[in-house]
Structures are given as C-alpha cells and as structure tokens.
C-alpha cells in the first residue's frame, strides 16, 4: 500500500536518514523507534506530505502522493503533535468540522466517540475550558470515527491513562483486523492483541 523509496533527509546539517526504504502492507502495524531527535516526527510528516525537505519518493498504491493527492488523503488519517482543536469551539463542533475536512470520518458517531474517549457530558463546552489532556482526546476521538485505511499516529498515547491506552490498543487491533494499516511512534510498549508489531529503528537507519 504505502511504499517508501530511498528516502534521504537531513536537518540542521545532520543526516537523519539515508537510503531508507520500506513497504507497509495491508493489516500491518509499523512502529517507528529511535531516540529523541532521530527524526521520527519528521519521517511521519514526510509520509503525510507535510514536509518536503527530503529526497526520495513516497508512493501510495504505486503513485506519488504529491500527484495523487486526493486519493491519498482520502485514505489517510493523521494524528500529529498538534491536536487541531479550536478552543472557542465545542468538542462536538470541532469533530463536526474535522469530518467536513475528512469525509472518511463518520459524522453520525460523534456523540458515541466522545463518550468513548471519556468526554461524555462535555459535548457543548468550549474546548478551552478543557484540560490539555482532554483536548488531545477530542482529537483522538477521530480514531473512533475514521474509516480511512491508513493511520499515521504521532505519539497517540501521550496524555492517556492506562485504561485509555488499552482501549486504543484494542481499537488499533480492530483497525488492522479490518484490513487497515498503521504507522505510529510511541514511547509506550505496544501490545496489540493477536498482532505482531513490526519495528523500524531510525538509529539503525543511519549508516
């Protein structure tokens, strides 16, 4: 599905990775590992087309993601460091807008998704009154709405408690079972039920 060819990237005169190639298949979970500053976030941003400071190619179903922009983004759900949650909008309004932006999010399930991330009863409160962790969870509620086959998640488990993490792991397992694939970074030890997690260590990618 997602194919990375010969990726080269340097930042601040430091080579982050060189000749990096891999293929992400259907029903696969790929965890990107590496020390702080090893370029995990940069790599994820490149894969999403949010960075062009690289050489090489990112292909989605054999087509360059720049050229096949619409199809690729239709299939992509990206959760980055920044939640994209507006403080002046309520949780419900935020998610409604996100589902306008990304038609693969199912708008009907918004109340249900908010309940699942533990924000039941907070639907119509402006998000700036929520705590940072709660705001992040508003963004994560997208995972419950999404039917996109490819998830790219950057540190999705920060600001989650143990129970929350376990729930997300179940969610990831379901997504993979349904034929989706996931690339993620996390400091957390992943344990996905019935699924082996492939790892890619960026510290090794440097030769």
């Amino acid at each position: 599905m997602l194919e990375i060819k010969n990726l080269f990237c340097e930042r601040d005169e430091r080579t982050l990775f060189e000749g990096l190639s891999f293929i992400l298949n259907q029903s696969e979970v790929l965890q990107i590992e590496g020390q702080n500053g090893s370029g995990k976030t940069t790599l994820l941003r490149i894969l999403c087309g949010l960075s062009d400071a690289f050489e090489g190619e990112v292909l989605w179903h054999g087509k360059n993601i720049e050229e096949d922009r619409e199809n690729f983004y239709q299939a992509l759900l990206y959760v980055g460091h920044l939640s994209g949650v507006k403080g002046t909008l309520t949780a419900e309004e935020n998610l409604a807008w996100m589902s306008q932006l990304d038609p693969s999010l199912n708008q009907i399930n918004i109340p249900e998704a908010l309940e699942k991330v533990g924000l039941y009863g907070y639907e119509d409160i402006p998000c700036h009154t929520l705590s940072a962790g709660q705001q992040r969870r508003v963004g994560l509620a997208r995972l419950y709405l999404s039917s996109a086959p490819l998830w790219i998640l950057d540190e999705p488990f920060t600001a989650l408690d143990k129970k929350g993490v376990a729930e997300k792991e179940v969610l990831i397992a379901q997504h993979v079972q349904a034929g989706g694939s996931i690339i993620l970074t996390t400091h957390h030890n992943l344990s996905i039920p019935d699924k082996e997690v492939r790892c890619l260590n960026l510290d090794d990618a440097l030769t």
């Binding site: 239709q74 507006k86 002046t88 807008w97 306008q100």
Partner: protein
C-alpha cells in the same frame, strides 16, 4: 460549494465567538480617521479635500491590521496541518478564509465609512462612491493580504514583516479607490474607477488563491 460554505460557516462561528476580531478593525479605522483632524487641522474645507485619501488609507491599514490573523491561529493549533492532509480542495478553503476576513474587515468598514466621511466633511456626493469603492476594493486587499499572511504564518516575527510585503502591492487599489471618491465628490463620473477596481478584484480572485495555497504549503512544510 458545500465545502466552501461549511468552511465559511466555521470561520464565521470562530469570529463571532471572539467579538474582538470584529470590533478591533472598526475601532482602529475610526481612530486613524480621527487622528487626522487632531494632527493636521480641523478646518472643514481642508479636511474635505483630505477625506477621500484619509478614509481609504485608514481602511487599508485596518484591513492590514487584521490580515495577519487569517491563518495564524490555525497554524498554531495544528488546524492548518489537518487542512493540508485533507482531500478537500485547498483553494475553496482558502477562499472561505479570505471571504471571512473580508466580511469582518472590508465589508464592515464600508458600512461604517459614512460616519468617518461625515466627521471629515466629505461632500455628500462622495459617500456613495466611497461605499462602492470600499466594497469593490477591500476584497482585493484581503486577497493580497492573505498571500502575505500565508507567507509569514510560520515565522515568529511575521506580524511586522507582513506589512512590508503587502503594502507595496496595495498601492494600485489605494490609488483607484481614493481617486474614485475624489472624482465622485466633485461630481465626475466614477464608473471607470469602479471598473478598474473590479478588474483588479477579478484578477486577484483568479490568481491570489493559487499563491496563497502555495505559500501555505511552504509555511507548513518548512
């Protein structure tokens, strides 16, 4: 089209939740206009000559003042990233944002401009040209300003830089806008000026969104 409306609705909602965004440009517009009689001369005949230019300059500055905010908060909280990884056409999204900016700056300014016109003794024949020229000219200002905003949104000191980038490009609009009011207030026909303002609006409407999208991509990807 549906998406354009949805995006516009969201932006309007955001603006109305923070009323300052609407009031600030208007207050600024009136304040700048008031500074002139205080700073130069309160004499009616003199002010009425100055009025077209002063009102237009004040409107231009008020529009510029708020243009930096078009993308800033979306950039800071990550909404802009969401927009870039969305399959929806960015051009429509950008147009919605510019429309929102115009509604809270140019459109409102045109509506309150008669107040300033009265205070600066603009001849009453000039008021209609003033409103029309502002309505036709300020969307161009918003479009050009949005290019500057998109180019500087990723920079920490973008706010100061943006006026340097954008003001030279505002000059034609200022010239034709102020001239139309001047012509109108001495009873000359103004259709020609308005046609030129409309032509500039058409041109910027066609070209500016592409520049804005390109600039936003550069800003987010850097």
């Amino acid at each position: 089209m549906n998406f354009f409306l949805a995006a516009l609705r969201r932006d309007l909602l955001l603006t109305f939740r923070r009323r300052n965004d609407i009031i600030n440009p208007l207050a600024f517009f009136l304040m700048v206009g008031i500074l002139f009689p205080l700073g130069v001369s309160p004499e009616a005949s003199f002010l009425s000559q100055l009025a077209p230019g002063v009102i237009w300059v004040a409107a231009l500055l008020a529009s510029l003042l708020s243009v930096d905010g078009i993308f800033r908060s979306d950039f800071d909280d990550g909404s802009l990233e969401h927009m870039l990884v969305s399959p929806q056409p960015l051009l429509l999204l950008v147009l919605a944002k510019v429309t929102n900016h115009w509604l809270i700056s140019g459109f409102c300014l045109a509506l309150v401009s008669p107040i300033l016109a009265l205070m600066l003794f603009l001849p009453s024949e000039g008021i209609k040209p003033l409103i029309f020229s502002l309505l036709l000219g300020t969307p161009t200002l918003s479009l050009i300003g949005a290019i500057g905003a998109a180019l500087t949104v990723g920079l920490r000191k973008g706010g100061i830089l943006i006026s340097l980038l954008v003001l030279p490009l505002y000059i034609p609009v200022l010239i034709f806008g102020a001239s139309s009011v001047q012509a109108g207030s001495i009873g000359l026909p103004i259709q020609g000026y308005l046609a030129l303002l409309a032509a500039m609006l058409a041109l910027s409407l066609v070209l500016a969104p592409f520049a804005i999208v390109a600039a936003l991509k550069i800003s987010v990807r850097s």
